[in-house]
């Protein structure tokens, strides 16, 4: 048995964990869990834990529905015990078929495959997301109430969300998820937590854990936290701007000290790759009907496919690194992502698009200098292409994309399109309050 497994088994024993939660993620990005007793853990490392995947979104196959979950000892984490509770542990799993081959429906395996391709090209892929979300008074969809919107005199409720956020950050840090910044966002009751960068696999695991922890801590205070991209009309939605960088060993592959603005040829091609394929991969980075209500002008979300240095209205922004930290700090920020994405799949398609840019030496267009937030709907034609306007457009673009098909693999690609077409279909036939209010009396 290897040292890591031994470490995990000893720790579970020493800390008397009563339960080990085996975590994995379905195609839509929902966290799934199988709990086992600590005594089963050793066997789980050796033989995997068999379960029927047919009930899990994107796992179902016609002929074979049984799959194996193999815990990844690297991702083992004790859950910080709260007063009076028993210690539990969580560990992310890789899903395989019964013959041991990676299961095509497992998003974590998809990301691993894409990271292996990057590693073969000599790159390590690092991500740092900025996760936005809202705290609501309840999870009742008929009446979403922000907690701190009543008025700014309402110090009690304002303090409550700050306190919840503080406890959330303690939980995150205690689980080894370092938080870079956290603050109250623009909209009422909207908060943001920025994570310190890590390799994409660790970060995708962390985003899954973060969504869970944010919700749990909120729930303990009787509050509902939502990562829905646009819960309220008229105020900003929740995004997940993600900072991306490629590293070759100790060197930042995006940095070139001899370039006028410090950007390497690799960085330029990577950005070009993102821009060329942005339309095709948006269905993955913004997977809900609701996602597209965030991607509109006027709310600091990107609409046009463009890049710029330090211009927050572009789809790809290249932040100016701190002085003296250019070699470490050079990175780019992809601003379309929202926190309701499946991070494994979203990081996969972004990486694949960037690598395609490097492989084929895509030319980077001129950067955008106008503020696209102000240019409104009637933007000049030379601003170029726009992101898909709704889920249907995004799915059409995705369906034509060889790049996304290859990055996700046939199984997930097909399943995702089928599932999302159904979601769009259900939405298309829905009669909304907008229509009733506007048309019922007039016509």
């Amino acid at each position: 048995m290897d040292h890591q497994q031994d470490y995990v088994l000893r720790t579970v024993e020493e800390r008397r964990a009563r339960l080990v939660r085996l975590w994995f993620t379905d195609v839509l990005g929902q966290l799934k869990s199988v709990a086992i007793s600590p005594v089963e853990l050793e066997a789980a490392f050796e033989e995997g834990v068999q379960f029927d995947g047919s009930a899990i979104d994107g796992f179902s196959r016609v002929q074979e529905s049984d799959v194996l979950a193999f815990p990844d000892p690297n991702s083992f984490q004790l859950m910080p015990a709260r007063d009076g509770e028993e210690v539990t542990a969580r560990i992310f799993c890789d899903i395989t078929r019964l013959d041991g081959a990676p299961f095509e429906g497992d998003p974590r395996q998809v990301l691993k495959r894409n990271l292996a391709a990057a590693s073969e090209a000599g790159f390590q892929f690092m991500c740092a997301p900025e996760v936005e979300f809202f705290y609501l008074a309840s999870d009742d969809p008929r009446d979403p109430q922000p907690l701190d919107s009543a008025s700014y005199f309402d110090l009690t409720t304002y303090d409550e969300t700050s306190d919840i956020r503080r406890r959330t950050i303690q939980r995150l840090e205690g689980s080894g998820i370092p938080v870079e910044y956290s603050f109250h966002e623009d909209a009422p009751s909207q908060h943001e937590i920025d994570l310190r960068y890590a390799d994409a696999l660790t970060m995708a695991d962390d985003v899954m854990a973060l969504r869970m922890i944010v919700r749990e801590v909120a729930m303990a205070s009787g509050v509902h936290a939502t990562f829905m991209p646009k819960p309220f009309e008229g105020v900003q939605g929740s995004g997940m701007h993600t900072h991306l960088s490629l590293w070759s060993g100790d060197d930042n592959a995006f940095h070139d000290p001899d370039d006028a603005v410090g950007l390497s040829a690799t960085a330029r091609s990577f950005i070009a790759g993102l821009l060329v394929h942005a339309g095709e991969l948006t269905a993955v980075t913004n997977q809900l009907v609701n996602s597209y209500k965030r991607l509109v002008s006027g709310f600091e979300a990107p609409v046009h496919i463009s890049w710029a240095r330090n211009n927050r209205s572009a789809l790809v922004r290249v932040p100016v690194p701190k002085k003296g930290k250019e070699d470490q700090g050079t990175r780019l920020e992809y601003r379309a992502l929202d926190p309701a994405c499946n991070p494994y799949l979203a990081f996969s398609v972004l990486l694949a698009a960037g690598l395609a840019g490097i492989r084929h030496g895509y030319e980077l267009p001129e950067e955008t200098t106008v503020n696209l937030f102000e240019s409104g709907v009637d933007a000049p034609a030379d601003l170029g292409r726009r992101l898909p306007a709704n889920l249907a457009e995004a799915l059409d673009a995705m369906e034509r994309s060889e790049l996304v098909r290859e990055a996700l693999g046939e199984h997930i690609f097909e399943w995702f399109l089928r599932n999302k077409r159904a979601e769009w279909g259900a939405y298309r036939t829905h009669v909304s309050s907008f229509e009733l209010n506007r048309y019922l009396r007039t016509w």
Partner: protein, 223 residues
């Protein structure tokens, strides 16, 4: 582990420094009476300054009723002839001034050859931090730290070498080993995670040494 006996008292600074950095417990003794007042896992006798008394001390320590073993003798090159006929009083010797690496290696080698003597400590301690190497558990101020395997290994390595500055490359090769192809950024990520878990109060135990790497705490010897 029982302490090493060191003669003379006060101990020669270079010997004390090597033993401290190696994390080996030791105590200086001035004479036979002081030597009788302890249980020893071995001895380092520095006979280079005062060979007459040094050789006498070595012989005393090897007498049947004391029988301190193993014993490392430190002598000058000009005294090598004096070792003739004294081989029963020491197990190994090294020449003064001894290179710290040689002195440490010889002490470790002697101790490792001793049956039933566990050279590796089973606890690493630094201020409020305690790592139990037997059970893989780490605690700070008595509160257990929930570490991943690599975080534990990294902390163990750093805490076992307080005050030493390590580059990312050295940490990668010593802690991760060759099986890992990740790259030096991995070290930064894990350091940041360790600091998060150590908590605000203790995060400063791991210091960033600008454009070099990382350092844990202060040397037991002072820097």
């Amino acid at each position: 582990m029982q302490p090493l006996l060191v003669w003379p008292d006060p101990a020669p600074p270079d010997v004390a420094r090597v033993l401290d950095l190696a994390g080996l417990p030791w105590r200086a003794v001035a004479d036979e009476a002081a030597a009788r007042d302890g249980v020893w896992s071995g001895a380092v006798v520095a006979a280079d300054e005062d060979p007459e008394r040094g050789f006498a001390m070595a012989r005393t320590l090897r007498r049947g009723d004391l029988a301190v073993a193993p014993l490392l003798l430190v002598v000058r090159g000009t005294q090598l002839a004096d070792l003739d006929g004294r081989h029963d009083t020491f197990d190994d010797f090294c020449l003064a001034p001894a290179h710290p690496t040689e002195l440490e290696a010889r002490v470790r080698h002697l101790l490792a050859a001793e049956p039933g003597l566990a050279l590796e400590p089973d606890v690493v301690q630094y201020e409020a931090l305690v790592l139990n190497l037997e059970t893989y558990q780490a605690a700070i101020d008595g509160t257990p730290l929930d570490l991943t395997y690599m975080e534990y290994e990294l902390l163990k390595f750093l805490a076992s070498n307080p005050g030493r500055v390590f580059t990312r490359e050295i940490l990668l090769s010593r802690v991760w080993g060759y099986e890992y192809y990740g790259g030096a950024r991995t070290v930064d990520v894990h350091i940041r995670r360790l600091r998060a878990k150590l908590g605000e109060e203790h995060a400063g135990l791991i210091q960033t040494v600008r454009s070099v790497g990382y350092k844990f705490g202060e040397s037991r010897w002072g820097s």
